[in-house]
């Protein structure tokens, strides 16, 4: 009788599933990372790819359709659209990543602490999250944008103030459920201090779920940055940004519709890449 393979952790290649093996088997993650990598590579190597500078104007050649010289045509000031599009990727992706790090960490930490210790600390943090949710999001964004002056600084401050909530809520829920499980209780009986338990035991379990949420939240952040650009309180000219490019191009929608459409697709492309990575990670961890 041939020996049956029924251990689910073995994949069809017969070897024990290493982390790489499992990543290889989730294509969504692979394609997502591939798409994101293409964008990042383009953003990094744009000076070598395109001869133009992002804000290099040519007042005699404005609003030209896509041509050999300008692959995506020129905008209303005669600047090469393709170059601006990729330099805008630099700005927007940089802000997206930087503006996520601090809220991610604070949210993660506060969530775990609230979930683990419960009682009054949990109440304070839930109260804080409720207050921030009760705030109309755009009121905070606009006020901070005005107070700190438009541009990147305003966006960083806003997202440090508001961005942590979604992570706190997710991690608080997860930690609260982990806390009931026996192995956390046993760790407590060993007299491990709370903080060590959180870091050694709860963090590794909460982190995967949090990273999946991080991916979707990053897409939300990118869309927020772009919408701020549209409302005219986002990134200030001349730094290229997809949001301002869409709103600038909007007035030429009938004559040069690609001015608004192309940056819009760039946002959608990044959105797809990031949410594919998010889905892929979620599938990966669900399989474990």
């Amino acid at each position: 009788m041939k020996q049956m393979r029924i251990d689910p952790r073995l994949n069809r290649y017969g070897n024990r599933t290493s982390i790489f093996g499992r990543i290889w088997s989730t294509p969504t993650l692979l394609v997502g990372t591939f798409m994101f990598a293409v964008l990042v590579l383009l953003a990094v190597f744009i000076p070598f790819i395109s001869p133009y500078q992002p804000s290099e104007q040519n007042l005699s050649a404005f609003l030209q359709p896509p041509s050999a010289k300008h692959w995506m045509g020129t905008d209303q000031l005669g600047r090469d659209l393709f170059t601006r599009l990729i330099y805008a990727a630099r700005t927007d992706l940089k802000i997206m990543v930087l503006a996520e790090i601090i809220p991610f960490c604070t949210g993660l930490f506060l969530g775990m602490v609230a979930g683990y210790y419960g009682k009054w600390l949990d109440t304070v943090i839930t109260l804080l999250t409720d207050t921030f949710i009760a705030f109309p999001f755009y009121l905070i964004v606009i006020i901070v944008a005005f107070a700190s002056g438009a541009g990147e600084r305003g966006i960083y401050i806003t997202f440090i103030l508001v961005g942590w909530i979604v992570f706190a809520r997710v991690t608080r829920g997860l930690t609260a459920s982990f806390r009931q499980q026996e192995w956390v209780a046993s760790a407590q009986t060993l007299g491990l201090p709370g903080i060590r338990i959180i870091l050694r035991h709860i963090l590794p379990n909460v982190l995967p779920q949090a990273i999946v949420v991080l991916m979707t939240d990053m897409v939300g952040l990118l869309v927020a940055i772009v919408t701020l650009g549209y409302l005219g309180i986002g990134i200030t000219p001349p730094t290229p940004d997809w949001g301002t490019m869409i709103s600038d191009g909007q007035s030429f929608i009938t004559t040069a519709w690609w001015l608004s459409a192309v940056p819009g697709f760039a946002v959608v492309y990044t959105g797809i890449a990031l949410s594919l990575v998010g889905d892929g990670l979620a599938d990966l961890w669900r399989k474990k």
């Binding site: 949990d122 009760a134 005005f146 409302l231 869409i246």
Partner: protein
């Protein structure tokens, strides 16, 4: 202190729901949230540079005119005095004062603008729920077949679509070129209003559907795998009844909480859609009041948003508790 704090964190302990103590706690919590929001907004908008008097009198206003306007609006008082005066008006007349720009009372302004926004959110929620339920059921029932992939790809794409960009595309396609919908503003009469809110409601629903579909699909997949569905299937009960009567209800419950959070985000979130579609609702009023530093109106809207968000989260908590016999029975 221990006992109070335990019950105080009401949302953690499901057991304590339904008792009158729970109700008191939740109301106190709601009040604290509303107070925090109102006070925070009061001071935040005064710290931000920009002076309403200059926005009324324009760029050619003389210092004397500005001075007299400041005095008339009481803006020359210290922040503390202004706050006390604000609280007095709030508790005596239940209003946050008259609009600096148009002179009408904020309560009237909001009462006149709120119906449009609430109708917009209502319509959008109905669209979102119906479409999300249909898509989720379609995806869950034939997992890993074509519809499931299509429906799983759909949120991935729409997640990255800025709402204003979607709005613009819809206007260009359906209003300007095809003329099926009015381009913007709200027409008189019920039919006119619904007709003009249709497109904006779809745009708002567009931003809600991805998260709802994902959550509903996941819930439905779990429920479809549960034993009681197998029992019903074994009993050869018609598929439709199993799906709509049993599966959907069980899947909807957890998504209700998510829907509650989405809804509270929407109260302030329709601002962009109202700008794009030229709808004179609370969102566009908020945006223009901030631009013109119309302090009383900004505070009034922040208060309105805080109250509605608190009410919604309360309603969602009560509904989900009432709907779920597992909790109702116990206490």
């Amino acid at each position: 202190m221990m006992k109070l704090s335990k019950t105080f964190s009401a949302s953690a302990g499901i057991k304590s729901r339904g008792s009158s103590l729970w109700l008191v706690i939740v109301l106190v919590r709601a009040l604290v949230v509303i107070l925090c929001v109102t006070t925070a907004v009061f001071f935040l908008i005064r710290i931000v540079p920009g002076d309403p008097a200059k926005m009324i009198l324009g760029e050619y206003s003389t210092p004397e005119a500005l001075e007299s306007m400041h005095h008339a609006l009481g803006l020359d008082l210290s922040l503390g005095e202004q706050f006390l005066r604000f609280l007095k008006i709030l508790f005596t007349q239940g209003d946050t004062g008259n609009s600096i720009i148009s002179g009408t009372s904020t309560r009237e302004l909001i009462a006149d603008r709120a119906p449009v926004t609430l109708l917009l959110i209502g319509l959008a929620s109905v669209f979102a729920i119906i479409i999300a339920l249909l898509l989720a059921t379609l995806a869950a029932t034939n997992k890993d077949k074509l519809p499931d992939h299509l429906i799983r790809i759909f949120p991935t794409i729409t997640l990255g679509m800025p709402v204003f960009w979607v709005g613009l595309l819809l206007i260009l396609l359906f209003s300007v070129r095809l003329g099926w919908f009015p381009v913007g503003g709200v027409k008189e009469g019920w039919v006119g209003t619904v007709h003009s809110l249709a497109l904006p409601a779809i745009t708002v629903a567009f931003s809600q559907i991805p998260t709802l579909v994902r959550s509903l699909r996941a819930q439905m997949l779990d429920v479809l795998e549960s034993d009681f569905v197998v029992t019903l299937k074994a009993a050869r009960i018609p598929r439709a009844i199993i799906l709509f009567k049993h599966v959907m209800r069980n899947a909807a419950l957890p998504t209700l909480m998510l829907f509650g959070v989405n809804l509270s985000y929407l109260i302030g979130g329709t601002l962009v859609v109202e700008q794009v579609f030229g709808i004179k609702g609370i969102g566009s009023l908020l945006f223009s009041s901030i631009a013109k530093r119309d302090f009383p109106v900004i505070q009034g809207i922040a208060l309105y948003c805080a109250i509605s968000v608190v009410i919604i989260s309360l309603l969602v908590e009560i509904i989900s508790w009432w709907l779920d016999p597992r909790t109702k029975g116990k206490s």
